[in-house]
């Protein structure tokens, strides 16, 4: 272990946005001319976070929780209002050119590539900006495009690509210069399941092969669950939980909600079936006439479902992950808040 084990660090970081408040309607606008009303909004409060090289951290939180704000503070796009954000041991808002070569940022809702030209042309400009060796550049583009399955789309103008293809191009661009830290802000937002899966696999592989530190934000638990080792939950600008995903996964994250709808001629639920549940560690959480919801560990999910077909005449069946709200409620309930740990 070196003396500076963290590649990035936040100490009591806060961010306050001030926005002008405008009243509704013409009168409100006129009033705003006379007396400007500014409302302060606390987007981040007292954030403490340290990430070691090679970690793959999931930053999760509902919309407006402050994920993007934290990423912006950490990448030096905006200054923190209080506290200190450090990247590579330097103030994040005063990164040197050498520091900037070591990081990358992908924003799900904002293209980092240039809109009007094919992705490959953007990559060439990035190659010059980041001074990537030509042979390495060619190899990396080819390799990464193959992995992400977009080789035949490299020559197409970016604006003509589908959302999923565009995001894959963004990711290729972000990894071209072999950055030490990559920030991805909601990279899978709005993508189809297959693209999401491809991107997650890619991130895991790059993290494993090159020890790239990855900070991934999402409001979708599936992203984090399948990609990250460590989970940070943001709620209203505060860190609610920061810890190992493996332990958490067993207790909360790895649970599935199974909802079955029964045919009219199916046997109904009855108390004597409780024993059938115990074998799989499942619990009945909701019972309605001809619709039952169970919770079960992910690893027992498949045999449990098969058994359900033996027990009932199943008309329809849905399996869902625990939504983020359940997880947060569960963490509150069990008192595993970060302050407590």
């Amino acid at each position: 272990m070196s003396i500076h084990p963290s590649i990035l660090e936040c100490r009591s970081v806060g961010k306050v946005y001030s926005a002008q408040v405008r009243g509704a309607g013409t009168l409100g606008i006129l009033r705003g001319f006379v007396r400007r009303q500014v409302r302060e909004h606390v987007a981040l409060a007292n954030i403490d976070l340290a990430v070691a090289p090679g970690e793959i951290v999931g930053l999760i939180g509902a919309n407006g929780a402050g994920k993007t704000t934290l990423v912006k503070c950490l990448t030096g796009i905006i200054p923190a209002s209080s506290g200190r954000c450090e990247l590579f041991g330097h103030d994040a808002f005063a990164l040197t050119r050498a520091d900037k070569r070591r990081l990358s940022l992908v924003m799900g809702q904002r293209s980092q590539l240039w809109w009007d030209i094919p992705a490959i042309d953007s990559f060439r400009l990035l190659r010059e900006i980041y001074q990537v060796d030509a042979a390495r550049f060619e190899r990396r583009v080819r390799e990464q495009a193959e992995r992400l399955d977009v080789t035949d789309r490299l020559q197409v103008q970016l604006r003509q690509l589908s959302l999923g293809e565009r995001m894959k191009m963004e990711i290729i661009g972000a990894f071209l210069h072999d950055p030490e830290v990559v920030f991805l802000d909601e990279p899978t937002i709005g993508l189809d399941l297959l693209s999401q899966e491809t991107i997650r696999t890619f991130l895991r592989e790059v993290n494993r092969e090159r020890r790239t530190t990855v900070i991934l934000t999402s409001h979708d638990m599936a992203d984090i669950e399948e990609t990250c080792d460590r989970l940070v939950i943001l709620e209203a600008g505060r860190i609610l939980f920061d810890g190992d995903l493996v332990g958490l996964r067993r207790r909360f994250v790895g649970r599935r909600a199974v909802e079955v709808h029964l045919e009219a001629n199916s046997r109904p639920w009855s108390a004597e079936l409780d024993g059938e549940l115990e074998r799989f560690g499942a619990v009945l959480v909701r019972e309605a006439p001809r619709a039952l919801t169970f919770e079960v560990d992910a690893e027992h999910c498949q045999p449990f479902i098969q058994h359900l077909f033996d027990l009932f005449q199943v008309r329809d069946l849905a399996v869902e992950r625990q939504p983020l709200e359940n997880l947060i409620r569960e963490i509150f309930r069990t008192g595993e808040l970060v302050e407590a740990s």
């Binding site: 912006k72 796009i77 905006i78 050119r97 070569r101 940022l105 030209i117």
Partner: protein, 281 residues
Amino acid sequence: MSRARALAASLPEELHLLPYVAAYEWRKATAFRAGFVLNALLRGVPRPVVMTLVYLAMFRSTGAAEIRGYTFVDLVHFLVWTAAIQKCIPDWRSLDLAEQIFDGYVTKYLVMPVSYFTLLWGRFLQFTAVQLLAAAAFWCAGALVLHSWWPQPVSAVALAQAATLLALGTGCYLLTYFILNCLAFWLDVVWSLLNMFMFVAAFMSGMLVPVALMPRAVRGVLEVTFPYWTVNAPVELLLGRLGPADFRFGLAVLATSFVALHGLAFVTWRRGLRRYAGVGT
């Protein structure tokens, strides 16, 4: 001091990037081919056509042979040269920085190891190269059709002097647009400011009326500003109405303006970034 040293250290790198940025801008500009050609051809042409008709009406109605030493033909020649020069001057649409600030698109450049000014000058290089060609094509086309009636530069030296002033002056225009665009960090009325500047600059540069026709006091003021030395003065050099001493004075005015504007642009950009929130991301 250390910031200045860091800037100096990064200069070779930024210079190395310039042609690549210009090439990218070229690809971007030509992505819509028809619009690109039309824009390059038409830029600066409608105004002189209208002004020619205005002058024609003025000379007809007053019956005068000349106004302050300018005959009708002199004025048309003046307009032809301003048209060629206007092709080379960036206008408010040459930069979409204010839009990028409003929409949060500036964000991506902030994490890259490149100065935004390199992107700015790369775009300038591309624009200037293309528009110089368009201006040359415009002049050649006129000379082919109208032969000796079309205005010729009085000498090669005058042409070189005019080109030098134009190069520095267009840089001043670009920096001014950059600074006005940067105000988008604070204000949401940048479009109206840009439009106002366009209009005032058109007046100051002699694009609307030759500065020589204006009252003495106005002339005195305009002759120490960069728009005058970017358009009106080069035209008069080409027409043989100004000489080497004027050129040297103009060069000093433009060089001073350029340095001052660059400093101001730098400060505005740095201050603005402290306020930037990257909305919508």
